[in-house]
């Protein structure tokens, strides 16, 4: 899985593709640690290229979302492909995350 990170204003964006599973979690975790450890941490995880998410990866996203909210920010998701969206729906994590169609919508919601 590739992980590309960048900033858009004060919003940290991660773009991933491929399988997001336990093998990939450490590098995403390291990035999340840096961006959720500050006040008003606003994060967008662009999952347009992600084809599969396992439970360890879901845990990491939940952890990041909770930390961001503790710091009065949020971690939002965008661009979920159908199979990935189904995983979020079956676990009802779609109720926990703010999810958007694309990165533009996600950025707009965070501004």
């Amino acid at each position: 899985m590739d992980l590309k990170t960048r900033m858009s204003g004060n919003v940290a964006i991660a773009e991933m593709n491929g399988r997001f599973d336990a093998l990939e979690v450490p590098k995403v975790s390291a990035w999340l640690d840096t961006v959720t450890d500050r006040e008003d941490s606003r994060i967008v995880v662009n999952m347009t290229g992600v084809t599969f998410v396992d439970s360890t990866a879901l845990s990491l996203l939940v952890k990041g979302m909770k930390r961001a909210r503790q710091h009065n920010g949020d971690l939002t998701l965008c661009g979920l492909q159908k199979p990935v969206k189904v995983i979020f729906e079956l676990t009802r994590l779609d109720k926990a995350f703010n999810m958007y169609e694309d990165e533009g919508d996600a950025l707009h919601a965070l501004l």
Binding site: F52, S55, T56, S59, R92
Partner: protein, 508 residues
């Protein structure tokens, strides 16, 4: 190492060849000479029969021994033939003494080589007996100091944290040894620090220091620094190189051994954790009026967070749980144990608790714990009321849970609440289904739906629904076996990444 005694080379020659020199002297005496002798700058070394001090006249022939002048003397003969013969004798004596000197130096070299071989053997032997890196380095230090007749020595291994061993006392700062390692690494060779530079390195004053790299897996991982009086010569450097090569090879083996040991220890702990975890699961199937119940779990190689449980206390409805704490390893196993215990406790504490009540209380109780660890758990709780033939359930993010009414189509019972530990409040509703004879509920974990085949394809929900529907006529125990068999056949030998747990409830 044995230091050879200092003996004048000609004296050695006399000691070794006295019978032949006696013969030479006798030959001259028989030829009419009054006396025969060997003279050096220090005086007469030998004479036959005695030095004729009264006579200063005689024949003499000079020769050199190890750069020192000596002479053969013959008294009482003065002819040219005798002079020529004496010169030939002097030349022979010089050749013989030269061969003797060569033999001596070869013997010394041989002894030194043997000493070095013995020292290397001693080093190997003493390091081999050490299974701890610091002890092995101490052995290296001790043997190297003996070998080099060094005044002090340090060994530095760039581990985490760095390991430093010094003798006789910690003379050199760790930061300085680290700097020397970088210098040796940059040069790719040993470094010699002369006495004038010693202070800037914090090395022993007025000493020469030799810093040799220690290679582990082709990387400069450590250094051996030896300080002594006098300069290091080429054999010293070669010897210390051999010592460090030997030490590096041993350290490689030692680190490999330690890694294997650590892995074996972790593996043993994991196996223990897995055993503890399996023992937390119900060891017997419950007997419930109106239901045929079966359950099983197949743990993955790494300890995970799947669990199932039943409570069938007298007077209370039959209650069962299937859950999955995300992640793997000891934290997941610990949270699984806590979650299971908390569900039991809430079930007994809350009077007439419904599945949604238990899930709500569970989330309230464990939200902070899950937040600290950074995990969550999906939980499905079912409650069967035999008199009413109703199954109440609440589902906090758990899947797959499949309901297949007798003769009907299998459907997923989707969750309506978020998993435990995701949001501060988990708003699950109680759901109810009629549960009559032939109706089937299969509550599994994602180890089934996410099982993969060698092509990386997921087993998926569609296959699972079809499978459940096709085996709905079987008993609960048979369905459990069929599910595991089908998943194993689909996997075709692929590694099982996740626990596979299932509870099957069938109306009878």
């Amino acid at each position: 190492m044995i230091a050879p005694p200092v003996v004048h080379p000609l004296q050695r020659f006399l000691d070794d060849h006295r019978p032949r020199l006696n013969n030479l002297a006798q030959a001259w005496l028989m030829a009419g000479a009054e006396a025969f002798g060997i003279y050096t700058a220090d005086g007469w070394l030998a004479a036959w029969p005695a030095v004729p001090f009264g006579q200063a006249q005689g024949l003499r022939a000079p020769f050199q021994v190890s750069g020192k002048r000596a002479e053969l003397w013959v008294f009482g003969l003065f002819d040219a033939a005798s002079q020529a013969r004496l010169e030939v004798d002097a030349d022979l004596v010089q050749q013989l003494t030269s061969l003797n000197t060569d033999l001596d130096s070869m013997t010394v070299e041989l002894i030194e080589t043997q000493d070095q071989l013995l020292a290397l053997y001693g080093l190997t032997d003493s390091m081999r007996n050490q299974l701890r890196v610091d002890k092995a380095l101490a052995a290296l230090l001790s043997e190297s100091m003996g070998l080099m007749r060094a005044a002090s020595a340090s060994v530095f291994l760039n581990d985490t944290p760095p390991i430093v061993v010094q003798h006789p006392v910690p003379l050199v700062a760790e930061t300085m040894l680290s700097r020397l390692l970088e210098q040796v690494n940059a040069s790719g060779n040993h470094v010699i620090i002369v006495p004038s530079d010693a202070p800037s390195y914090g090395l022993p004053l007025q000493k020469f220091s030799l810093v040799e790299p220690i290679y582990v897996h082709n990387q400069v991982t450590g250094i051996l620094c030896i300080s002594k009086e006098g300069a290091f010569n080429s054999p010293d450097i070669k010897l210390l190189r051999a010592v460090c090569d030997q030490a590096g090879a041993h350290l490689e083996n030692l680190l490999l051994y330690q890694n294997s040991l650590a892995q074996a220890r972790i593996q043993t702990e994991m196996e223990l954790a897995k055993t503890v975890q399996l023992n937390l699961l119900p060891q017997q199937l419950p007997l419930v009026a109106g239901l045929d119940v079966s359950a099983a779990t197949l743990p993955a190689s790494q300890v995970g967070g799947d669990f199932y449980d039943y409570t069938s206390d007298p007077g209370l409805p039959f209650l069962f749980t299937v859950g999955d704490v995300t992640g793997k390893g000891i934290p997941a196993a610990m949270l699984m144990a806590m979650t299971r215990t908390m569900i039991r406790s809430k079930t007994r504490m809350l009077e007439q608790a419904s599945p949604a009540d238990i899930i709500g209380a569970l989330n309230d109780e464990m939200y902070d714990d899950f937040t600290v660890i950074g995990m969550f758990a999906t939980v499905f709780i079912g409650q069967y009321l035999h008199e009413d033939h109703v199954l109440y359930y609440a589902n906090a993010g758990h899947s797959p849970v499949i309901f297949c009414p007798a003769g009907g189509t299998a459907v997923l019972l989707e969750a309506d609440g978020t998993p435990i530990g995701v949001l501060p409040t988990c708003l699950c509703e109680n759901q109810a289904i009629y549960f009559n004879q032939g109706d089937l509920l299969v509550a599994g974990t994602d180890g089934f739906s996410e099982a993969t085949n060698p092509q990386g394809e997921l087993f998926g929900y569609e296959r699972l629904l079809q499978l459940v529907e096709s085996v709905a006529y079987q008993s609960a125990a048979e369905i459990v076996q069929t599910l595991y068999r089908a998943i194993a056949e689909f996997g075709a030998g692929s590694a099982q990444d996740d626990d596979q747990t299932v509870v099957v409830i069938k109306g009878v």
